[in-house]
């Protein structure tokens, strides 16, 4: 299936993945068919200038069963979850929830995306919850730099934040850590059994 932005789109039973769109609709609890392409979401989106498919086009591509095109790009990872689109949609399409659903499907499939930094940041953030219970900002920054290869990124911020007490050198582990671990593993188990998406 062609996935690049400029590639000509042929619509047929073979090229339209309707099953994918249904999954998105179930996960997000909203219908992409309600969208009539007024474009208010993209007009108000603070991140649309960073996206190859602005929000209204993401919905249009879903309507046409072209989920793969959306996942292949970086648009979903450049959504800031500011909820402006959901707030302004005249047809009550919950676009922010659609973005969440698309990210989840891409994340689960470990799918192709041009945007790896945002995914790395998300992964480290969630890892921090599982390891410490609360965010450990120093580790978040250090691990991000190591794993992204941007070793010097924001190096000057460290001393600035530490000297003002805005960053802890050490993070103690939360007392509820066993309970947090149990939440993670129960969710994994539910998914294995097919009880949750």
């Amino acid at each position: 299936m062609q996935t690049s932005k400029k590639a000509k789109m042929h619509l047929s039973n073979e090229t339209m993945n309707v099953g994918f769109v249904k999954k998105v609709e179930v996960l997000s609890g909203t219908s992409v068919r309600r969208c009539f392409q007024c474009g208010k979401c993209s007009a108000g989106c603070p991140m649309s200038s960073f996206m190859e498919h602005p929000p209204n086009r993401v919905v249009r591509l879903l309507q046409l069963g072209q989920g793969e095109r959306v996942l292949a790009g970086r648009s979903i990872w450049y959504c800031a979850s500011c909820e402006t689109c959901t707030t302004r949609c005249p047809n009550k399409v919950n676009l922010a929830a659609i973005m969440d659903a698309l990210r989840k499907l891409s994340w689960d499939a470990d799918g192709p995306s041009k945007e790896s930094y945002v995914q790395l940041a998300n992964r480290l953030f969630i890892e921090n919850i599982r390891t410490y219970g609360r965010q450990y900002e120093l580790r978040l920054g250090a691990a991000f730099n190591m794993r992204s290869g941007q070793f010097l990124k924001d190096l000057m911020l460290g001393p600035k934040l530490l000297s003002r007490g805005k960053m802890k050198l050490f993070q103690s582990k939360n007392k509820n850590l066993p309970e947090i671990e149990a939440i993670f593993s129960r969710i994994e188990e539910m998914r294995k059994k097919g009880e949750a998406l």
Binding site: Y78, A80, R103, F125, Q135, L140, K153, E195
Partner: protein, 318 residues
């Protein structure tokens, strides 16, 4: 003598991760403000991360379960749940909304947390507590040091009021709760265009160039409207506007440049620098506590990167 006086109202408190780290002055000033207003504040013991944006971005069930568990921990502490961080507030409210509206999600969450997911705790943002529970009139009466002549841009950001019908804090497109509080404190809110625009939020870690672009527009708009400082109610907004202000003004927006991609914002000169004018960023609780006569060394002013003390001295508030 004052310590012997009883609290007029009691709240449980979910500070959130940022308030124990990069937003420590928000925590310090919230506690001082509540003390000054004789409002009780008791932290929920061993609360943990709400999951913030990264969790719901890729795993809604995880996000809902983390929040539901925190809400059930909060049940053990008396009073409505006071939340200062806009992101935590949003996640907790969204979770309650889903638990109420969606039976199948609630059942999944209950399996994940191995217990009932209750929605009986009322979650309130600090702004709500000040403007509604305590009340604007009483707030105005309690002011000991009015913030006269201070021109402030009230910045709401994304999560305090959106999406419609969920946080129920104020109108989701045209709120006024921050301006109302500010007027009660004696300061002067300016009219400006970027009150509700996104600052770039958690892209500060993954793509700082995004933050520099969005936050520079916010700073520019506030300055053009004549604001001398900006008031926020979210530690992420504060971080982006305050901690990165220096880079914004020196370097503009480096997103896309080779140097920017390798070294991040600190070493990458961009093209759209802006005139250097320091705009201190305050938390609402810092300005409110200042007006209530809390000693100025207890407001965490020294933690703000863009030093607000020269401005406060100029206004004879320090």
């Amino acid at each position: 003598m004052t310590s012997a006086k009883k609290h007029i109202r009691h709240y449980s408190y979910y500070p959130g991760c940022s308030l124990h780290a990069s937003g420590r002055e928000y925590d310090i000033s919230t506690r001082e403000l509540f003390k000054a207003l004789r409002l009780g504040l008791q932290e929920v013991p061993d609360w943990f991360c709400c999951g913030a944006t990264p969790a719901h971005n890729v795993d809604e069930l995880l996000s809902l379960s983390l929040c539901a568990k925190n809400l059930s921990l909060a049940e053990d502490v008396e009073g409505d749940l006071a939340v200062a961080c806009a992101a935590c507030f949003s996640r907790l409210k969204v979770t309650q909304h889903h638990l109420k509206e969606d039976d199948s999600k609630r059942k999944q969450v209950e399996i994940a947390i191995a217990g009932p997911a209750t929605v009986s705790k009322t979650v309130k943002h600090i702004l709500e507590i000040l403007a509604r529970d305590f009340g604007l009139a009483k707030l105005e009466e309690s002011v000991k040091k009015p913030l006269l002549g201070l021109k402030v841009a009230c910045y709401y950001g994304c999560l305090l009021t959106r999406p419609p019908g969920v946080p129920e804090l104020d109108d989701c497109e045209d709120p006024s709760i921050m301006e109302d509080i500010l007027r009660a404190l004696g300061a002067e809110p300016v009219k400006w265009s970027h009150r509700m625009e996104c600052c770039g939020a958690n892209f500060t870690l993954s793509r700082p160039g995004v933050v520099l672009k969005l936050s520079s527009a916010i700073l520019k708009s506030a300055q053009e409207a004549g604001a001398e400082c900006i008031m926020v109610a979210c530690p992420l907004c504060h971080g982006n506007l305050d901690i990165r202000q220096d880079s914004i003004q020196k370097y503009g927006t480096p997103e896309g440049s080779l140097m920017g991609n390798i070294f991040g914002s600190d070493f990458a000169p961009g093209s759209e620098g802006m005139p250097h004018r320091e705009t201190p960023i305050f938390y609402v609780t810092q300005l409110a506590a200042l007006a209530m006569g809390v000693p100025t060394d207890k407001l965490g002013l020294e933690s703000i990167i863009v030093d607000p003390r020269p401005l406060l001295k100029e206004k004879q508030l320090l």
